[in-house]
Amino acid sequence: MKILVAIKRVQDYNVKVRPKSDGSDVDIDGIKMGINPFDENALEEALRLREQELATEITVVSIGDSKNEDVLRHGLAMGANRAILIESEESLQPLGVAKVLKGLVEKEKPDLILLGKLALDSDAGQTGQMLAGLLNYPQGTFVSKIEIDNNKLIVTREIDGGTNILEMDMPAVLTADLRLNEPRFVKLPNLMMARKKTIEKIKASALASDTSTKLELLEVLVPPSRKAGIKVSSVKELLEKLKDNEGIQL
């Protein structure tokens, strides 16, 4: 079984980003970047499936410019067999990413495609479902457990108020929730080794003819902040303030 894992390079989750001074985009200059956490869960799960001898080959793929090589090397250091950089000058929206990945899936024919359920930068949470739609594959989103039985996938999904379980044939597309697993720590020697591995390169235009979108970013804004609050000195004062200032009767 071949698994394809799509990974994105995003800002560290602790960083608070700001708009550029002219508001034209987000200012991410000098910000610590790395693999999108949910994608790391997706890759970890692929590695575990290989450790159970259910998977044979794991390929990590990222789309963008040469900067993305660092997350691909991180993926190789975690244990992926191969890494592919899909070169694209423009920064693609989820639909464009899904179209490019569809082209790669048709070429590589993986049995399972794993992605994170959300990217920390765009907060869109769409790529996996879009890819499944374009391929007309079964999909399992927000997955917190994956089992394989008789070549069937049995996935547990996080839904409102609890979980549900779906069964499906492969090929399929799954998106990982943070609860899926605890990603392994990458050891330094593995990182050193991953530096020497080759990264295959394909042009995005060779995989999808039209990746443009009809969305235009007009402005990046600082969200309205909450009005400055006050500190109270006691529980009694807190309850009085809630009642007198806010009209909340507890």
Binding site: Q129, P138, L242
Partner: protein, 312 residues
Amino acid sequence: MKILVIAEHNESELNESVFKVISAAKSWNGEVDLLVMGKNTVHVAQKASKIKDIKSVIRLDGIHLEHLLAEDAAKIVEMLSNNYQVILAAHSWFSRNFLPRVAAVLNVSLITDVLKIENNNVYTRPIYAGNVHAKIQSKDPIQLLTIHTSLFEACARDGGNAEIIKKDTPPAMNLTSWKSEKINKSDRPALIDAKIVISGGRSLGSEENFDKVLSPLVDELGAALGATRAAVDAGYAPNEIQVGQTGVVVSPELYMAVGVSGANQHIYGMKDSRVVVAINNDPDATIFQFADYGLVADLFDAIPEINKLIKE
């Protein structure tokens, strides 16, 4: 201009969010239809037809729609899409599961978690865990959106008499099959609708403490209980009460953050609350920047004291 709102329901009641999405749909000054799909939608469609702000209720029934699978839901919306210029739903795990699939097949973008709708299809939405907002314009022939419902007022629930139109349901896609479901039932109000939410963090220290310290106050106030991801990961609270970017987004009248540090991802889920109270023993905790009232105190003293004073 024709607009389709996708309703979430439990075969008996429409979800609260539906009324808010209908308000958002009115931004276009067009005719709004409501889509109700499921195993048995007769009853809920009848209730829906009373909503004044809608033109018709589009109803699709099918045995295979009992546990609405993404592939089937997407197929239905795709099938209806050529009648509409705008299609929208609440930004919930329900719609996030299948609307991207619809978007891809229709070759349009999906704009998620819309905070604000302006003329000419200009929207504001959060990016980078809500740290910044993006203002975007879409020139797609169909505007496909999910709405951040806490920022929209609910529309009136009655006064209308919409026509109910039953449509043929496409056959089951049979790509996935539903096996089982586990929903944790609680007598408390649902997190998303509660007037008061009290959330605890990792600082509670154990599952036992989480319950022992917070539950008496939560129940006294008829509130809902929430948790941070750190508390959920530590096993103190179940995942479905996690508030934040990866959890539930709430906007109650009163939000109390108890022993919560105030990470971006948590703030994302509660910053639209009307009044925020933070209790933390670290005077420099980030959460105080988002709180209307901050109390620097040990939660193990403060929470029982609040409960005691309220009872008096």
